[in-house]
Each structure stands twice: as C-alpha cells, then as structure tokens.
C-alpha cells in the first residue's frame, strides 16, 4: 500500500527548502529523507491512536529542523571553498572574488591574444578582431565563473542567475564580428575604387582577415553556447528531482 502524503507536508517541505542553503543534490536528498520520515512518523502516530492533526503536529515537532538544525546542516554540507573561506568577512570574500574574476578575464585575454598573434593569418589581422577578442574573453570568463559558482563554490541559492545573460552574450562575438566585416567591406570598396589595379590582392587579404575573425567569433559563440547548455541541463536534472520531492510524487 502506498498511502497519500499527509496534507500540509508539501508546504512544510517547501518552507524547509527555502531556508536551507545546502547545495544540490544533497539538499534534495535531505528533503527526500525528511519527507519519507515525516510521512512514516505521522502514520505511525495515527496507528498509535492519535488524531491525524495531532499526529502531524507531533511528527513536525520531532523532525522539522529549526534554525539551529538548519544552520548545523548548512555547516556540515558546506563546500570545500566555503569551509576554506568561512572565517572571511562577506566584504573580504566579495573583494577576493571580484579580484579572481578580473584576473580570470585578463588571463584569458592574454592567452587568447598570444595564441592568435602566434598564428600565421594575423599578419592580415582585421582591427575588429580585437573587440571580438575582448567580448569573447568576457564570455569565456562568464562560463568559468558560472562553473565556479555551481561546482566549486556550490552556492545554489539562485542557480539560474546569469544564465539568460550568458545565452544572450554568446551571440555577442559574432555580432561584433559581423559589424567588423561590414565596415571592412566598406573600407575595401573605398580602397578598390582608389586603386583598381590592386583589387585582387585587396579582396584576398580582406577575405582572409574577415574569415579568420568570423571563425574566432564563432568559436567564442560555441564556448558560450555549450557552457549554457551544460549548465542548463545540469540544473534541469537537479531541479526536476527537487520538484519531484517537494510535490511528493512517488
């Protein structure tokens, strides 16, 4: 027999879920454990002769964690990063994380610039490659930051925060590159008009530089898009399990 959950249980679990900052999937597992225990204890107390109301009240009193127990659970299940920085003030932690973010951006920018400059086609590099590189580095930093928050810091209070921006930003390098191609074509037209005898080398050079710029922009778009897809899928799986527990489906 699989009895229906006692009334009021989903709302009790949602209240615990809202106050508990334990990262997923541990939070879901704890809520699942709590739901099963609350249900079993309520039926056990009803079998002992208590009214359903009294049984629910007694079960909740025994098992629903108060603020002290929730804080204890948060400490127990905190990520390694949170344990490491536990003694830091919020302000100090925020500053350190901003510094880390800026360093990640600069490192990516330097590495990408170095790689591109080392490549042969950069002899003909378009000026617009550099804004593409800047936007692309910002996008790659966003992907790294989201991975850090979800899987290292494991702060899942607002797990979907920034995901839409990441998806929108994924198109930005290609958009900047397309603007660059358009302006390059305008410039090329002017140059060909002035020196028609140099039309062939000018067109070849423009094709090489714009093709290279578009390829790099598409590569950045893929980094952002794949990052978004991975985060989205990971969250969808865990959120589905979480919702299933909170709505008490079997």
């Amino acid at each position: 027999m699989n009895p229906a959950p006692p009334s009021g249980l989903p709302s009790q679990l949602r209240a615990v879920s809202d106050r508990l900052t334990v990262p997923m999937p541990r939070k879901t597992r704890f809520l699942e454990e709590l739901a099963a225990d609350l249900q079993s204890l309520t039926y056990r107390l009803m079998a002992d002769g208590l009214t359903p109301e009294e049984a629910r009240r007694r079960a909740a009193e025994a098992l629903l964690p108060d603020e002290h127990a929730l804080a204890w659970l948060d400490r127990l299940h905190a990520s390694g990063y949170r344990r490491l920085t536990r003694r830091w003030s919020q302000e100090r932690l925020r500053q350190a994380e901003r510094l880390l973010l800026a360093l990640a951006f600069l490192t990516l920018l330097v590495l990408e610039a170095k790689t591109i400059l080392a490549a042969d086609f950069t002899r003909y590099v378009s000026f617009f490659l550099w804004p593409v590189l800047g936007v692309g580095s910002a996008l790659a930093t966003m992907v790294l930051w989201k991975a850090f928050v979800l899987w290292i810091k494991r702060d899942h209070r607002r797990p979907r925060q920034g995901l839409r921006t990441l998806l929108a930003m994924s198109g930005a390098p290609v958009l900047v590159a397309l603007v660059g191609v358009w302006l390059d074509v305008v410039r090329l037209a002017g140059a060909v008009q002035t020196n028609p005898e140099l039309a062939t080398p000018l067109v070849v050079r423009a094709l090489i530089q714009d093709a290279a710029m578009l390829s790099i922009a598409i590569l950045f778009m893929l980094v952002g898009g794949v990052g978004w897809l991975v985060f989205n899928q990971w969250l969808a799986v865990h959120e589905h399990a979480h919702r299933r527990v909170l709505s008490l489906d079997s």
Binding site: A36, A62, L63, P65, A69, L73, L248
Partner: protein
C-alpha cells in the same frame, strides 16, 4: 585521564552520538525510528526534537561510523535507512567504556563530597 583532556561540552555532545550509535547496534533503522526508539528506551528522558537528529546522522555518516542507504518498501517512496559500520561499532565500544569511567569518577567525587560533609 589528565584533567586537560576532558571537555565537558564535548562530552555532552558525545552523549547524543552514543545514543544514536547504540540504537543501531542490532538493526538498521530509519531516522524517525531511531528517534522513537531512543525516546522509548529512555522512558522519554532523551528526545530529539526540531530535526536535531539529522545533523547528527549526517555527521556520523560523513565520519564513516554509520552508513546510509536508500530502501524502497512496497514500491512506495524511497526511505533512508542507517546501519552501524564496523568503525561505528568500535567507536561505540570505546566511547561507552570512556563514558562509564567518567561517570564513575564523577559519582565518586560527588558521593565522596556528600560523605565528607556527613
């Protein structure tokens, strides 16, 4: 035992751990069952309220003293069931001896003080 080794607050916290471990000595149990059994075995003296049992269970599991598994009875909801591990059993035996010794000394001290006054 040297005086410096004894921590009164730690000793009190450890009692909860021993209560949980001892109730798992003979069979695996669900969290709510552990709480009910401790309350029944102590005639209501020890009661876990407001979910304080869960941090204890999760800590003991992290320390390898108990093992938590999911079980599904009769095709219904999954339930977490806890079993005492070999480490937990050793810990329970050692700590029970230690508590016995500490309480023995404590009783000797307070009874000795009473007798001295009498």
């Amino acid at each position: 035992m040297p005086q410096a080794d004894f921590d009164v607050q730690g000793f009190a916290r450890n009692l909860n751990v021993l209560l949980v471990l001892s109730t798992l000595r003979h069979e695996a149990k669900h969290g709510y069952q552990i709480g009910l059994d401790i309350e029944a075995d102590s005639n209501g003296l020890f009661r876990f309220r407001h979910g304080t049992l869960y941090p204890i269970l999760h800590r003991l599991e992290a320390e390898g003293l108990i093992r938590g598994d999911w079980s599904r009875e009769g095709g219904g909801r999954r339930k977490r069931i806890y079993t005492l591990t070999a480490n937990g059993r050793r810990h329970l035996t050692g700590e029970t001896d230690r508590v016995e010794e500490i309480l023995g000394r404590f009783l000797r001290v307070i009874r000795g003080a009473d007798e001295a006054r009498a």
